[in-house]
């Protein structure tokens, strides 16, 4: 077999694999959307779910998903980015550093149900946060933090060392070089990582079953006082998210329109993640341009 033939075979295999991947993705998306889009209506999005009657909506679940996502990101992004910067820029190669790095790796590969059980033991029971938005966000922080650390460290390592040398050679301190040159330069790759992990967090269910709970109090969307028990902003109330809702209605739902609600919710979930990706990419491009000057 000559090298030209080998080359063709390799190329065909790679194209085939890419094609299979894209086909699976499209089929899955198409299936979810085709089945679900018909169930989505303004009423579906803006009405409360019902426990046993048909025609329930997903207003609270949708809100909860975004609220938990927001809190999780608020906790993980600053801590994770700082951790990643530490590992990439400050940590000296040695036992402690490689220990920290293996901890991050182990943490990143924990099954989410284990994170959920851990969250229940620590946040729900030990800290007495009960089934709450806060417990859920903290459990997801455990789940998401290593991803952000990894993404940041990789983003920094992918930068050319010439940038860092340039900053230092111009009489800037290490921290100033990181803050003004390296972090903006690594921003696009960090943002991509954050978006991807946000999608994972938004769709996570197992880690939330035992932390954020399976129910939501009757939320009063006119009451924005975080301390009141039925306020959407209250962090200490239980909060069923969209993906938990899909699981719940499918496994133990007694409403007659289980299929419609589940399909609609799944479609909304997928659409949210897609929109979120597109939006964040747009914003990322805009910020990057702001930081780096026009091309």
């Amino acid at each position: 077999m000559n090298s030209k033939v080998t080359n063709r075979i390799a190329l065909s295999l790679i194209v085939l694999c890419a094609g299979i991947m894209a086909a699976i993705l499209l089929a899955l998306l198409g299936y979810i959307l085709v089945n679900g889009v018909t169930s989505i209506s303004w009423r579906f999005l803006t009405s409360e779910s019902s426990t046993f009657l048909a025609g329930g909506g997903i207003k609270d679940q949708l809100w909860n998903s975004f609220y938990v996502l927001f809190l999780t990101m608020l906790l993980t992004v600053p801590i994770g980015v700082c951790g990643g910067i530490y590992l990439a820029e400050y940590a000296k190669p040695g036992k402690l550093t490689s220990f920290i790095r293996s901890c991050v790796e182990v943490l990143a590969s924990l099954p989410s149900i284990v994170v959920g059980m851990f969250g229940m033991l620590l946040f729900v029971n030990y800290f007495q946060f009960r089934y709450s938005v806060l417990s859920g966000a903290l459990a997801l922080t455990v789940f998401n933090l290593p991803v952000i650390v990894r993404v940041t460290e990789d983003g920094f390592r992918a930068l050319s060392r010439h940038q860092k040398e340039g900053g230092l050679a111009l009489g800037m301190t290490h921290w100033h070089t990181i803050k003004k040159i390296l972090l903006p330069a690594a921003f696009p790759s960090i943002l991509t990582g954050v978006i991807l992990s946000a999608g994972r967090v938004f769709g996570e269910s197992a880690a939330l079953l035992f932390t954020a709970g399976l129910s939501t109090p009757n939320l009063d969307f006119a009451n924005w006082n975080p301390a009141s028990p039925n306020s959407p902003l209250n962090m200490f109330r239980s909060a069923e998210t969209l993906s938990v809702h899909i699981w719940a209605v499918n496994t133990n739902g007694i409403i007659p329109d289980v299929q419609t609600v589940a399909n609609g919710s799944a479609a909304v979930l997928v659409i949210c993640v897609l929109l979120f990706n597109l939006l964040a990419r747009g914003v990322g491009k805009w910020i990057h341009q702001k930081l780096s000057g026009k091309a």
């Binding site: 190669p93 010439h162 230092l168 050679a169 111009l170 780096s292 000057g293």
Partner: protein, 269 residues
């Protein structure tokens, strides 16, 4: 070899008024782990002159130049001994303020490394960190430096565009400009033209000849003709040792050591 001789022939020892020594290098040894990369270097660096460091790859010339503004601190395994005296202090002293040192001794690298920011920011970012806050002053320095390196007319209308959109030669001149903005006394250049095309290289060479009127210039170069064309003093490094140091004309026309003669006549390297 003959060509080289004609090029430097009109440039003899007598024509150079010897400038005072600004940096005294005394018995400098540099190690990477157990690898003894630079061995017992002693040489003067004269102010407002161009000193070229030449030698084959891996001879320690880059390692040595990076020690003069302590850029080797970035490499954890690097270790230096000896003294490099500048303004009465030893640069190699661990207690020295490297931030101040690097402001006084600037550096330009082989690969043009503008920050992925606007042209204006590339010059003003280090200036702001150095404490220049006045907008008018920042603007003036930016303009002066860009004019000095001959870049002003090319970029004055696009100061807010990204510096990464400039050509390689323009990027390198921008890197020199932003180093000059900090008003250093010494400029170190580590093979500043080896990534550039011949036209851009000759522009940089002209700029270096202009620079030595106001600054002390130390340049590492692979290109012997470049050293012969622009340097007042040349140091030949080989296998971590300083084989020969002297006036460029002497070193190229009458090398004292055999390995110097072999290298400059192209027999190795």
């Amino acid at each position: 070899m003959i060509q080289l001789e004609t090029k430097v022939a009109n440039f003899t020892k007598k024509d150079i008024t010897e400038k005072p020594v600004q940096i005294h290098v005394d018995k400098v040894n540099i190690y990477y782990g157990t690898n003894h990369a630079v061995k017992d270097i002693s040489m003067p660096i004269h102010e407002k002159s161009i000193t070229a460091l030449i030698g084959p790859s891996g001879c320690g010339k880059s390692t040595f130049i990076r020690t003069i503004n302590r850029m080797n601190d970035l490499i954890p395994s690097a270790r230096c001994e000896g003294t490099i005296e500048y303004k009465g202090a030893n640069i190699l002293n661990p207690k020295i303020d490297v931030v101040q040192l690097r402001k006084a001794i600037g550096m330009v690298f082989q690969q043009p490394n503008p920050f992925p920011k606007s042209i204006r920011e590339n010059i003003q970012l280090p200036l702001k960190f150095a404490g220049v806050r006045n907008k008018k002053e920042l603007q003036e320095i930016t303009e002066d430096c860009l004019k000095y390196v001959g870049l002003w007319d090319e970029v004055k209308d696009r100061l807010d565009r990204s510096a990464t959109g400039l050509s390689g030669g323009q990027q390198q001149r921008l890197c020199i400009a932003r180093a000059l903005a900090l008003k250093p006394q010494v400029i170190l250049l580590d093979e500043p033209t080896s990534a550039l095309d011949p036209v851009s290289s000759s522009k940089i060479e002209e700029l270096l000849l202009q620079l030595k009127e106001d600054y002390t210039v130390v340049i590492v170069t692979h290109n012997m003709q470049q050293a012969a064309r622009i340097a007042d003093y040349t140091a030949f490094f080989y296998q971590g040792e300083l084989v020969e140091f002297g006036f460029t004309s002497d070193l190229f026309n009458h090398p004292e050591k055999k390995s110097t003669a072999d290298y400059i006549s192209g027999r190795f390297g």
